[in-house]
Symmetry: C2
Subunit: 503 residues, 2 copies
C-alpha cells in the first residue's frame, strides 16, 4: 500500500519495528509539579549547561547548549542591527573611580561587585571591578565620541559576560554570579523626546525577540523603588515559569540626563551652546534562554521552536539485516536534500543503539521533527515525520519531503505559541483586594493584576502582606479603573498594579 | 564614446570631476619607516580599536573594528568546526587551587595573573584568577566528561577574553592586559600517536587560516626554554611586521600526559585498565587581526583581503546639479544588485561631502573596490571600478558589474598575497655565523636562519649576543646542514635555527 500525503499513520513505526509500544504525546507532569528538578535534569542531560564547575553560580555551555545560545544571540544581534545598532566590545575591568561616578548607580551595585585587587604578586594601585553592567565603562567613551549634533543618535550594543557577587541562592542561568550572556544596548540622543521614543523602540525590539521565541510576556513600568539604579524609569518584560514564578527576562531603561551629567556627555547645539545628551539602555541575558527552555518543555525534555533548534529534523534509519546500506543511503540523501533547502538536519546513524534510544535522545534535545525511514519506505518512496510536541506521525511521499518538513515546522511553531500563550493567560489573573490577590498567588501563582492608588507606601505594604513583588504598572496599555478602589487601602484607584512571586 | 570592458581609464574621474588631480598607487613609506605610528594612526582613525579606555593594556573594538574582528572569528570558527571541533564556553574565574595543579604551568603564569580577592565588601575565601589561558579551568571538566574510549578524541574550542598582568610596555592588540579575542582549542586522545597527529592537524588548520588572511608565516618548534609551560613541545607561527620585527601569531602545543596526570584525566581501555589521556591545545588571538591590518596596509590606511573586508565595494555617486537623483538611484540599483549576489556593498551618499573626501574615507577603511558612477556613466551604461591596492581604474559596462567586481576581488586577493609573500621572503634570510646573523638582523631585520649545534647553552648564548630571540627550528621542513658548522660554537651543526627580534 502506498501511503498518502497527510495521512496520520500512528502505527507506522510499530509495524516497521514489529510492534514496539508507541508513547502518547509527552506529559507535562514533572515539568509543572517539580519544575526545578525538571530544569536541572534537562540542562544536565541534554546537556546544555554543566553546573559542576567549581565556582558557585557559574557554569559551562556544552556544545549543544552553545549552539542553542548562539541561535538566540544571532536573533538578538540581527534585530538590533536591523534597528540601526552597531556592535562594539568594551573591556571587562572598570576602575573603582569610574564605577563610582554616578551616585545611585554605584550605591545599588557596590555590595555585589567583584574586585580585582592584585596583579601577579603586586597590589594594584587602582582597584578594578569586574563589570556588573557597563554604563560606567561605556559612558566615559561616549564623552569622547560625542561632540556634535551629527554624532547623535548613537546606538551601540555589546554581548559580554557580567558579574554579580550574589549572596542569595544561585540557580543555573537564572541567578548566577557570572552572567555569561549579557546583551546590553546603550543609546544617546539630542532630546528627551528622541530618547523616550528610543525606549519605545527598545520595547518593540524586545517584544519581537520574545515573540520569535514564542515566550509570552507582560511589559510593566517597574515601581519607583525597583527601577534600574540611575534610571528615571524602567520597563520590564516578565514571563511566568512552570512553577508559576515570575521571571524578569528583559529591561529597557530611560536614563534621562543623570549619567550624561555624571560623565559630562555633551553635544554642541545649532546655537553654539552645549547640552547634555539624553540616554537609554536595555539589557537581556541568558535568562531568555532559560525561559525558552522552560516555557516550551515537557516531561520528555526540550521542545524548541524551529528558529532556535540546533537540529530541526533528525533522520533515523530503521534498519533490518540486509537492508542497512540501502536504508542508510536513503537517509543520507534525504539529509543532503534538506540541508540544501536550509533545514538543519542530521542523520543519527549510530551503530549498536536501538531506534527507540535514538528517539529518546532527540526528544530530550527537542528536535522539532523526527524523520523515520525504513525498508517499507524505500518500497513506497515515503518517509514518516513525527512532531516533537505531539508525537503525531505523518507519512509523506519522499518527493514532498522538503515541503512537508517546512510545513510541519511552521505548524509546530504555531502550536508552541498557542500552547504557551494559553498557559500564560491562565496564570494572568486579577483580583480586587489583598485577600483576593493572596488567594490567586497561592492557588494559581503567576501574575495578579489589581487596582492601586499609586502610593509607594501602599505598594510596599502590599509586598509585605503578600510575600510578593510589585512588578509595576502596565506599559502603554489602557486599563479602565474608573470607580475601582485600591486593593490595599481602599482609596480611589489610579492605575492597575501587577504582583507576582518572582525569581 | 562608449567605454569598453577592461579599458583602463585613469582619467575618468578627473573628467567627471572637472580635472581633480588623481593620486598614484599609495606609497608604503610611513608604513615601513614609522610603522608604530602608522599602526596607531590607522586603528584610531578608521577607527578599529580605541585605546583611550582608562585601563592600561585594554581597548575598545569600535563598530568597524568589531566587524573586522567578527569576520576573522567566523573564519576561524568555520575552520575548526569543519575539522570536528565543537564550541563551548567556560567561566572566566579559576580558583587558585585549580590554577596551581600543574606545577610548571602555574610557575610560569603566577607573576602575570590578576586576582579577584573581594566580593562586595567581603574578602573571598578562595582567591579567583582571571583566566590567563584555560587549561586549568577546562581539564577538571575533562576529568568528568571522559570515561570510556568512545569519549575520545574530544575536540573543543572557545573564543574568550584572557588576562595577563603585563609589566612590559603594552601595545594595542599586540601586547595587552586583556586579550579580548582568544581562540583556544583543547583536545584529548587515547594515544600519543593520535595526539601528535592532532598537533599536525592543528598546524594544518592554522596554516589555512593564515593563508586565507594572506599572512605569510614560518612554523618553528620553539626551543625547550621557550615552550608553553606544561607542554612537551610548542609549534609556533611567526610573521614579520613592517618594522621588521617578528610577531608570534599562533601556537600549537603537544601536552603529552602532563596535565592529564595533574588533573587525573583517564579513560578505560579495552582490557579494563585505565590510561591517562594525551592532550594538545592551540591558540590564536587578536594578534592575527593586528597582523592582517599590518601586513597589507599602505600609507593611505587599511588594505583588506576580500574575505575580511567589512565593506567589499563602496559605491560613490559623482553628482552634478540636476542629476543628483538619477545618479543616486543608479548607485542604489547597483548596490542592490551586488548585495543580491553576496557582495558586501554600500552606497556612500552622504551629503555635503566631496567625492574626494569619500575616497579618502574608504581608502583608509580598506574597501577593496570603489565604484564611481557619474552622469557620463548613466549615458554610457558604465561604472568605474577602482582597486584599493593599486588605485588602478577600469571602466566596465553596467551589465557586467557583478562579474567585474567578483573578478577584481579575486585579482586583489591574489596581488595582496603576492606582495605580502615577496616582502616576507625578502625578510627571511640566512647567515653562517653570529656576525652574519647580527648584520642581517641589524640591516634587514625579519628572521635569519643559521646552522646550529642544537645545544641549549649555545642557543641562549646567541640570544644574548644578538639581542634577539631564538624562534626555534623549522617544523616538518628538511634543511640540509651536512658539513655546516654551528653559527655560534663552530661545532658540527645538527639543524637550522631561526632568530629574530620579536614582539
Amino acid at each position: 500500500m502506498t501511503a498518502v500525503l497527510g495521512t496520520i499513520d500512528l502505527d507506522h513505526a510499530n509495524e516497521e519495528l514489529g510492534g514496539i509500544l508507541l508513547p502518547k504525546a509527552p506529559e507535562r507532569k514533572e515539568w509543572s509539579e517539580r519544575y526545578s528538578e525538571w530544569f536541572h535534569r534537562v540542562i544536565s542531560e541534554v546537556p546544555i549547561y554543566d553546573t559542576r564547575y567549581p565556582v558557585k553560580g557559574t557554569g559551562i555551555w556544552t556544545p549543544f547548549g552553545y549552539k542553542l545560545r548562539r541561535a538566540v544571540i544571532e536573533k538578538i544581534r540581527d534585530m538590533l542591527e536591523e534597528a540601526g545598532h552597531e556592535e562594539v566590545l568594551f573591556p571587562l575591568l572598570i576602575p573603582d573611580y569610574m564605577l563610582g561616578k554616578e551616585g545611585e548607580h554605584v550605591k545599588d551595585f557596590e555590595d555585589e561587585v567583584y574586585w580585582v585587587t592584585r596583579g601577579g604578586k603586586d597590589p594594584l594601585d587602582v582597584k578594578l571591578a569586574l563589570r556588573p553592567t557597563s554604563e560606567t565603562a561605556i559612558y566615559p567613551m561616549f564623552q569622547l565620541w560625542i561632540n556634535a549634533y551629527s554624532d547623535l543618535p548613537l546606538k551601540i550594543f555589546q554581548i559580554v559576560n557580567v558579574f554579580r557577587y550574589e549572596t542569595k541562592a544561585t540557580k543555573p542561568m537564572i541567578r548566577v554570579r557570572e552572567v555569561s550572556t549579557f546583551k546590553e544596548a546603550h543609546t544617546a540622543h539630542a532630546s528627551k523626546e528622541d530618547a523616550e521614543s528610543q525606549v519605545e523602540k527598545g520595547v518593540e525590539i524586545y517584544s519581537r525577540i520574545f515573540e520569535g521565541m514564542k515566550i509570552p510576556f507582560v511589559k510593566s513600568v517597574r515601581p519607583e523603588w525597583d527601577k534600574f539604579p540611575g534610571a528615571e524609569y524602567t520597563v520590564a518584560f516578565d514571563t511566568i515559569l512552570p512553577d508559576n514564578k515570575v521571571l524578569q527576562v528583559g529591561t529597557v531603561h530611560f536614563l534621562g540626563q543623570g549619567f550624561a551629567k555624571a560623565f559630562d556627555i555633551k553635544y554642541m547645539k545649532s546655537d553654539g551652546g552645549y547640552e547634555h545628551v539624553w540616554q537609554t539602555c536595555y539589557g537581556i541575558s541568558e535568562r531568555a534562554i532559560a525561559a525558552l527552555i522552560s516555557v516550551h518543555g515537557d516531561d520528555s525534555g526540550l521542545v524548541l521552536p524551529s528558529t532556535f533548534a540546533p537540529v530541526q529534523a533528525v533522520i533515523i534509519p530503521i534498519v533490518y539485516k540486509g537492508k542497512e546500506e540501502e536504508v542508510t543511503n536513503k537517509c543520507k540523501e534525504a539529509d543532503c536534500l534538506l540541508k540544501s533547502e536550509g533545514i538543519r538536519s542530521v542523520v543519527d546513524d549510530r551503530k549498536d543503539i536501538t531506534p527507540g534510544n535514538k528517539y529518546f535522545t532527540w526528544e530530550l534535545r527537542g528536535a522539532p521533527i523526527r524523520i523515520e525511514i525504513g525498508p517499507r519506505d524505500l518500497e513506497n518512496s515515503t518517509a514518516v515525520l513525527v512532531r516533537r510536541d505531539t508525537l503525531q506521525k505523518t507519512t509523506i511521499q519522499m518527493q514532498e519531503l522538503v515541503e512537508g518538513v517546512h510545513k510541519m515546522l511552521k505548524e509546530i511553531d504555531f502550536s508552541l505559541m498557542e500552547r504557551a500563550d494559553l498557559w500564560f493567560k491562565s496564570k494572568l489573573t486579577n483580583a480586587e483586594d489583598v485577600e483576593g490577590i493572596k488567594s490567586k498567588l497561592d492557588k494559581v501563582g503567576g501574575i495578579v493584576e489589581a487596582p492601586w492608588c499609586g502610593a509607594r507606601g501602599c505598594g510596599e505594604e502590599m509586598e509585605g502582606k503578600l510575600d510578593g513583588r510589585i512588578l509595576g504598572t502596565p506599559y502603554k496599555e489602557t486599563h479602565d479603573v474608573a470607580g475601582k478602589r485600591c486593593a490595599n487601602c481602599g482609596r480611589e484607584a489610579s492605575t492597575i498594579i501587577r504582583i507576582g512571586r518572582s525569581y
